[in-house]
C-alpha cells in the first residue's frame, strides 16, 4: 500500500462515527490535562489504559493519542495567562506569551498559540505521513556525539535568553545546570547533592522548578506591588480577543520554523519537546529583525515554541511506529498500550496493522482540526480568568501550584521544594537575574552531561569523534558562532563609537 492509498484507507477508518467520537474525547481530555499543571498526558493515558482494553484497538489508540497531542495545545493556556507552564513542553511559551498578556493581548496570545499549534501540528502529521521511514533512519544515525553537540547548541542559546547582563544570564544557567545534576548518577549509581535526603535521589521534578521560578515568583513580585487590583489588563471587545492581522503576519516564519525544528527534534529519541521549543525560540530570535524585543511580548516569540512543541508530537511518533522505539515517557506508555492490544509497533507495523497505523495518522489530521475548533471559542472564556480580582486569583494560583507540585510525586517534600524555587525566582527577578537561562540549564544539563560521558566512553576518552563527525562538528561550530554574537555586538558598538568620535 503506497502512502496515498494508505492515507485514504486511514481516513475511512478515522471517519467511522465511533472513531470520530473517540478522537473528540481524546482531544477534549488532552486539552483539560494540558491546562492543569501537574497532571500530564503520561499519567492520564496510564490511568485510562485499562478502560480502553474493552475498546476496539483503533478507537483506543486514536483516543490515547488525542490526549497526547491535545495536552500540547492546552499546555500554553496557563503559560500565557498565569506564567505557569501546564506541561514541561510549554515552558518556553511563558517567555513572550505571558508578556503579551501583560500588554493586554491575552486573547491574541491564546489565539496565536492555537493557530501555531494547529499549523505545526498538521505539518508534523504530514511529515509523519510522507517521510517517516527515511527520517527514522536519520534519527538512528544520531549518536552520542551528535546529541552532545545538539545540547551544546541548545545551551549556547543562553546568550539570546539573557537580558542586558550576560554574566547574570550565565550565572542563572549555571544554577540550572547544577540543579540538573542533583540525584543518582546513572553511570556510577552514586548520589550527588542529595544532602542525605532520599527524596532527592531521583532528582528534582522539572515542573516544580518551572512553576516555582516562573509562576510563584511572578505572584510574589506582584504582591509586593500593592497598587494593582488586577493582575493584568483585559480590554473589552472582540477585536482585542483575537490576534490582529499584523500579529499573524509577524508569525509567518515562526509557524514554519516551529514546524520544522519541532518535527526534527521530535524524531530524536531522548531529546524531548522542551528542547525543541527552546531551539525554535532561539532560531526565531536569531533571525529576527528586532531580537531586542523578544521577551517583551512579541507574537513570533510565542508562535515558534508553541508550534515546535506540537510538531514534536508527529516527530515522536516516527520512531515509535516505524521502529518500535519510544522517545519519551508518553510514547513509552503508548507503546505498552499497543502491545496490550496485540499490535506490534516496529518495522512491520505498517504492513501488518495498516488499519491501526493509517487510521491513527488520519485521525491526527482530524484531531488537529477538532482542537482548533475546540480551542478558539475557549479563548475569550479563558481570557476572562484575568478579570478575577487578585485577592481571589493569587490564592488560586498558589493552590493550583501546590496541588500540581504534590501530584507529580505525591510527596509533601516537593511542595517545600516548590516554595524554595518560588523564593529563588523572586530573588532572581528582584536582583535582575533572568530566569529563563536557569530553566534552559535545567532542561539541557542532564542530557548534555550524559551524551558527553557516553561519547567519551565510546571513544575511550578521545574528544576527536566530536569534531570528526560532520553533523556534530557542524552543530558545535554553530554553537560557538552563537556564543560570539554578543561580542560581535560589542565590537560593532566600539566601531560605531570610534566612527562617531572621529567625526
Amino acid at each position: 500500500m503506497d502512502t496515498f492509498s494508505g492515507l485514504l484507507h486511514g481516513f475511512s477508518v478515522a471517519f467511522q462515527p465511533a472513531n470520530l467520537f473517540w478522537c473528540f474525547v481524546g482531544c477534549f481530555l488532552g486539552t483539560i490535562v494540558g491546562i492543569l499543571p501537574g497532571l500530564g498526558p503520561a499519567a492520564t493515558i496510564a490511568m485510562l489504559l485499562p478502560l480502553t482494553f474493552q475498546m476496539d484497538p483503533s478507537g483506543g489508540i486514536i483516543m490515547l493519542c488525542g490526549i497526547y497531542y491535545g495536552a500540547k495545545y492546552g499546555g500554553s493556556t496557563t503559560s500565557i495567562l498565569l506564567n505557569m507552564p501546564g506541561e514541561a513542553s510549554s515552558v518556553v511559551s511563558c517567555l513572550d506569551g505571558y508578556q503579551m498578556a501583560r500588554k493586554g493581548r491575552a486573547g491574541a496570545a491564546l489565539g496565536i498559540a492555537a493557530i501555531a499549534s494547529f499549523i505545526a501540528g498538521t505539518v508534523g502529521v504530514v511529515a509523519l505521513t510522507v517521510v517517516a521511514p527515511p527520517i527514522a533512519a536519520f534519527a538512528l544515525s544520531f549518536s552520542s556525539p551528535e546529541y552532545f553537540a545538539l545540547m551544546c547548541l541548545g545551551l549556547s542559546l543562553v546568550v539570546l535568553l539573557t537580558g542586558p547582563s550576560l554574566v547574570k544570564g550565565l550565572l542563572s544557567l549555571l544554577i540550572g545546570l547544577w540543579l540538573a545534576s542533583i540525584g543518582t548518577d546513572l553511570f556510577t549509581a552514586q548520589s550527588r547533592f542529595t544532602f542525605g535526603r532520599s527524596e532527592l535521589l531521583g532528582g528534582i521534578e522539572f515542573m516544580i522548578v518551572a512553576i516555582g521560578v516562573f509562576a510563584l515568583s511572578e505572584v510574589l513580585a506582584s504582591i509586593e506591588n500593592r497598587e494593582q487590583t488586577r493582575l493584568l489588563p483585559v480590554p473589552r471587545g472582540l477585536r482585542n480577543l483575537l490576534p490582529s492581522w499584523e500579529e499573524l503576519k509577524a508569525c509567518r516564519f515562526a509557524f514554519l520554523n516551529g514546524s520544522v525544528v519541532g518535527f526534527i527534534v521530535g524524531v530524536l529519541p531522548g531529546a524531548g519537546s522542551a528542547i525543541a521549543s527552546f531551539i525554535s525560540y532561539g532560531v526565531e530570535k536569531a533571525v529576527s529583525r528586532h531580537p531586542e524585543k523578544f521577551g517583551t511580548g512579541v507574537p513570533e516569540g510565542l508562535a515558534a515554541p508553541e508550534g515546535a512543541n506540537n510538531a514534536d508530537t508527529g516527530g515522536a511518533l516516527v520512531p515509535l511506529l516505524t521502529l518500535g522505539i519510544p522517545g519519551g515517557g508518553t510514547t513509552a506508555i503508548l507503546l505498552s498500550a499497543l502491545v496490550f492490544w496485540g499490535i506490534k509497533p516496529g518495522p512491520l507495523m505498517i504492513t501488518e496493522s495498516p488499519d491501526i497505523f493509517w487510521g491513527l495518522v488520519a485521525s491526527m489530521y482530524i484531531g488537529n482540526v477538532v482542537l482548533l475548533i475546540l480551542n478558539l471559542p475557549l479563548v475569550p472564556l479563558f481570557a476572562q480568568i484575568l478579570r478575577i480580582p487578585v485577592y481571589v486569583l493569587f490564592p488560586l494560583i498558589f493552590g493550583i501550584a501546590i496541588v500540581g507540585a504534590y501530584s507529580t510525586s505525591g510527596q509533601i517534600f516537593d511542595v517545600a521544594l516548590l516554595a524554595i524555587f518560588g523564593l529563588l525566582g523572586y530573588l532572581m527577578v528582584k536582583f535582575g537575574f533572568p530566569t529563563a537561562p536557569l530553566i534552559l540549564g535545567f532542561v539541557l544539563g542532564d542530557p548534555m552531561e550524559r551524551a558527553l560521558r557516553q561519547s567519551l566512553m565510546m571513544s575511550q576518552g578521545d574528544f576527536l569523534p566530536m569534531l570528526s563527525r560532520p553533523l556534530a562538528a557542524g552543530m558545535l561550530c554553530l554553537a560557538v558562532l552563537i556564543l560570539l554574537v554578543p561580542f560581535l555586538g560589542q565590537i560593532n558598538r566600539w566601531r560605531v563609537r570610534a566612527i562617531t568620535e572621529t567625526v
Partner: protein
Amino acid sequence: MLKFTLLGSALALLLQVPLAPAMAEFKPTRPIEIVVHGGPGSGNDLFARSIIAIVEQEKLAPVRMQVANKPGGGSTTASAYLASKKGDPHTIGVFTNIWLTDPLLQEEANNPLTSMTPIARMLVEPALLVVKADSPYKSLQDLINAAKEKPGQIKQSGGSITARENIIRQLIAGATGARWSFISFPSGGERLAALLGGHVDLMILEPGEANEQIRSGKLRVLAQVAETRLETFKDAPTLREAGVSIPNVPQTRGIVAPPAVSEDSAKYYEDLMARVVKTEAWKKYLETNFFDGSFANSKDTREFLVSYQDDIRGYLKESGAKVVR
C-alpha cells in the same frame, strides 16, 4: 448476607469492639493499595495493573485494588512509603531486583527489601543477548574472541551499572576474559536506538523489547540468558549451551507487604497471588511478555531474597561499585 455484614461492621465500629481478634481469617475491608516504584506506564505499573485486572475479572478479592505510583530514586521512594505503612494489612508493593540493589549502593535507601514481609515471587524475566543483523559476530564465541583481541573496543548499551545487563557482562568477563565497555542510557528506547544505529555492538534486553526487531530481521540473537530455551527463540542457545557458564542472575518481580504485618494478612495475599497465577489471563500475560512464571510462596521468596541479596552484593563489589551495606 451483605446487609448483616454491613450491620455487623457498623455495630462493631459503634461499640469500638476490636474486630480483628474475633476473626479467624483476614479479609480486606477497604481498597488495597499496590505500591509500585515506576511511574504510570512503566513495566512495574503495567505488571500491577495486570494483576488488578485479573483479580477484578475473576472476582478474587472482595474489595477494589488500586495502584499507588511512588517513583523517585529508583525504588527508594516506594520502599520508604511501604515501610511507613508498617503493619497495615491493606497495602502491598511490587518489588524487582532494584529493590535489592538500591539499599546496597545508597546510604539514603535505608529500607532493604529483606526488612519487608515477602508475599510471593511472581515471575522471572529471561533476557536475550543480541547484535545488529549486519554485525560480524555470528555467534557468542565470535563476540568473545573479538573482545579478547581488542579489549574495551566492543560496546554494549544498557541502563545503570547496577542493572542486570551489566552484572551479566561482568560475569562473562570473569568466566571468559572477554572485556567490553558498558555505556549507560536512561531509557530502553535510547539503548535500542544506539544499537540499531550501529553506535554500540550489543545489548542484553528483555525478549519483549527485542522481539519485533528480531522478527523483522534487524537484530540477531547470540544467546539467551535463561535456564532453558524460550519457545519463540528456540534456535538461539542459552549462555551455558554457548559455552559460557555463569551463575544465573534472575530478574524477578514479586509482591511484598510492609514490615510487621499479621501472619493472617500475609497468608491472605499469598493465597490471592497463588490464585492469580492459576488463571488463564495470567498465562496469557506471561506469554505475550515472554516471562517465565516461576512462582514462589512467601517462605521460599524470603529465602530466595536473602541469598540473592548476598549474591548481588558480591557481583556489585566485583564490578567496582561502592557497596554501603
